[in-house]
Amino acid sequence: MAKRIDVSGLTAYYGSHKAIEDISMTVEPRSVTAFIGPSGCGKSTFLRTLNRMHEVTPGGRVEGKVLLDDEDLYGTGVDPVSVRREVGMVFQRPNPFPTMSIFDNVAAGLRLNGNYRKNELNDIVEKSLKGANLWNEVKDRLNKPGAGLSGGQQQRLCIARAIAVEPKVLLMDEPCSALDPISTLAIEDLIGELKERFTIVIVTHNMQQAARVSDRTAFFNLAAVGQPGRLIEIDDTERIFSNPSVQATEDYISGRFG
C-alpha cells in the first residue's frame, strides 16, 4: 500500500527564480522522513513537488524525476489530479472546509473519487477519524461545522480527511507550527501510528520534533539569499543528530546558525 519515493535531479522554479536545485533522494515506504533547514531553503517547495502542488503556484515549474514505486509523477500523460489522489497532504495551518460539517470534511475526498453507499461512507469516516485519534472527541457532533473545533482538532480533522482516501504517501508541511504543545504531542503520536500504513514526509522547523518522530532526516540549506536551496545530506535521524557527515549540518543542529 505505502510506496517508495525516488527523486532524481529535481529542480524547481518560481518563474525565472530557481528555488531548489538538483535534489535526489529516496524515501522508503512505511517510514517517516523529516526535512529540516533554515527558512527559505526550499523544504516546503520540494515537498510540494512530490504531489505536484508546486505547479499550481503561478510561474511554478519543475524539472527532473519523481518516481512513486516505478511510476514517474512528471511523466507525459500523467494527470496531476490523479497524482494528488495518491499523495495526500496536510498543511501548515489547519484548513478544514469551513462550509462543511466534520463528517463532510472527512468524506470530501471520497466523494471526489467515486460513489460510495451511505453505510460505506459512514464506516470509512469513522475509521479515518479513529485513525486520526479524533473519533472520541467528535463522534457526537459529526454534523457540526469543522471550523468549530480547536486548532489541534482541526489539524487532526485534516489528517483524517487526507487518510480517508487511502493515499500511498502522506506529506506534512509543518503540521504543528500553528499548534500548542499538547496538540503537537497528539499529532506526533499520531504520526508514529500512521507510519505503519503510509510513507510519511514531514517538513519541520522544530529539530526536537524531527528527532522524535522521524526515521530519516534530510538537511536542506542554501548558499546565500537568492541562491537555490540544495539537499545537503540525508541520513538516519540518529546519525544526523549525533554524528552528521557534513559540517554545515552539525552547525545548524547545534544552533550555530539558522
Partner: protein
C-alpha cells in the same frame, strides 16, 4: 418613603463602576477621536433620519391617496386617477416589477457568476484585468443609453427569438406570442439582465478573489479538478457574497425606470404570456405618469412608490436571512 431612601443613600457598589467608566473614556476624549466619533456617529444618525423622512413622506402622501381610492388599492387593474372618485390599484405594477426582475435575475446571475469565476480562476492574468475594466465601464453607462439601445437595436432583433420561443414553447402559455411588437416583459427582463450584469459580476469577482488560498489548496491536495475546487471551496466561501451581489443587482432591476419606460409598451393589465406586449412596473409607471398627474394622481403614484419601497425592504430582509441562516458555516472564522 422607600424612594427617598434610595436617593438619599446611594448604594456604594456603583461608585467604582463609575470611576472605571470615566478612566476608560479618558482615551476617547482626545480631540481627533472626538471629531471622528462625532463625524461617524453623525453620519449614522443622518442615514436613519433620511430613511425615516422618506418613509414618513411616502406613508403620508400614500395614505391621502389610498383614502380617496374608489377601487381596491391592491387588486384593481386600472389606473384612473382623474376619475371622480379616482380608481387605481398596484396589482399590474407589482406583477410587472416582480416578473421583469425575476427574469433579469434568472438570466444575469448565472452568467455573472460564470464570468466572475472565469476571470478569477480560468483566464490568464494578462486578460482578466482588461476584461474586468470593460465590465466596470458597462456599469457606468447611463440607463437611458441602455434604454435607447434596447428600443433601437434590441427590440427589432427579438422577433426571431420570440418566434422561436412561440413555436417550441408556446404550448406552456408563458411563451405564446400573438405577433405584436416585442416590447414585452421578456424584453424588459433581457434589458435589465444586461444592465445588472456588471454589478453582480464585479462584486462576485471580488468575493471569489478573496477565497483564502489555503481552502483552495485543501481541495487541490485531495485530488480535486479545477471545477471541483470551485465547487468545494470557492462557491461555498463566496455564497453569501454572491447573494449580496445579486441583491444589489435586484435592487437596480426593481427600481429601473428609464430603460423600462423606453422599451416597454405599457398597458394596465396582466399578460399570462411574457412575449405579448403590455404590463408595467412601478418605476416606469411613475416616470411616464408623474409629469401630467394631478395632485391626487401624484399621491397615487407615491403610494405605488411606497409599495416598491416595501418590496425592496422585504427582498433585502430575505437576503439577509439567507446569509444568516448558515452563519456558523461561513468562512469568516477560518
Amino acid at each position: 418613603m422607600d424612594m427617598t431612601k434610595t436617593t438619599d443613600v446611594p448604594p456604594p457598589a456603583p461608585q467604582p463602576t463609575a470611576d472605571l467608566k470615566k478612566s476608560a473614556n479618558r482615551g476617547a476624549t482626545r480631540a481627533g477621536d472626538r471629531v471622528f466619533l462625532g463625524l461617524s456617529r453623525g453620519s449614522g444618525i443622518l442615514l436613519l433620519v433620511i430613511m425615516a423622512a422618506i418613509a414618513v413622506f411616502l406613508t403620508y402622501r400614500a395614505s391621502l391617496a389610498i383614502s380617496k381610492d374608489h377601487g381596491n388599492f391592491l387588486t384593481t387593474f386600472e389606473w384612473n386617477t382623474n376619475l371622480v372618485p379616482p380608481s387605481f390599484g398596484i396589482a399590474v405594477l407589482a406583477f410587472g416589477t416582480v416578473v421583469s426582475s425575476v427574469i433579469a435575475m434568472a438570466l444575469a446571475v448565472p452568467v455573472a457568476v460564470s464570468i466572475a469565476l472565469f476571470l478569477t480562476h480560468y483566464a490568464p492574468r494578462r486578460m482578466s484585468g482588461p476584461v474586468a475594466y470593460v465590465i466596470d465601464l458597462l456599469a457606468a453607462v447611463p440607463s437611458i443609453v441602455y434604454g435607447l439601445w434596447g428600443a433601437l437595436i434590441l427590440v427589432p432583433h427579438l422577433n426571431g427569438l420570440f418566434g422561436w420561443l412561440d413555436e417550441y414553447l408556446g404550448w406552456t402559455g408563458i411563451f405564446s406570442w400573438q405577433g405584436g411588437a416585442p416590447r414585452s416583459m421578456l424584453t424588459v427582463g433581457i434589458l435589465l439582465a444586461i444592465m445588472i450584469l456588471p454589478i453582480i459580476t464585479n462584486v462576485s469577482r471580488e468575493v471569489f478573489r478573496q477565497v483564502p488560498r489555503m481552502h483552495e489548496e485543501a481541495a487541490l491536495a485531495l485530488g480535486a479538478t479545477r471545477w471541483e475546487v470551485i465547487r468545494m471551496s470557492v462557491l461555498p466561501f463566496g455564497r453569501s457574497g454572491v447573494i449580496s451581489a445579486s441583491m444589489l443587482g435586484l435592487g437596480r432591476a426593481l427600481g429601473e425606470t428609464m430603460a423600462v419606460a423606453t422599451v416597454l409598451s405599457p398597458t394596465f393589465d396582466i399578460q399570462t404570456s411574457l412575449l405579448d406586449p403590455g404590463g408595467g412596473t412601478f418605476a416606469q409607471n411613475i416616470a411616464s405618469k408623474f409629469g401630467e398627474a394631478t395632485q391626487d394622481g401624484r399621491d397615487a403614484l407615491i403610494a405605488s412608490g411606497l409599495v416598491l419601497f416595501v418590496i425592496t425592504l422585504l427582498v433585502n430582509g430575505a437576503a439577509r436571512a439567507i446569509i444568516a441562516r448558515r452563519k456558523e458555516y461561513s468562512g469568516a472564522n477560518a
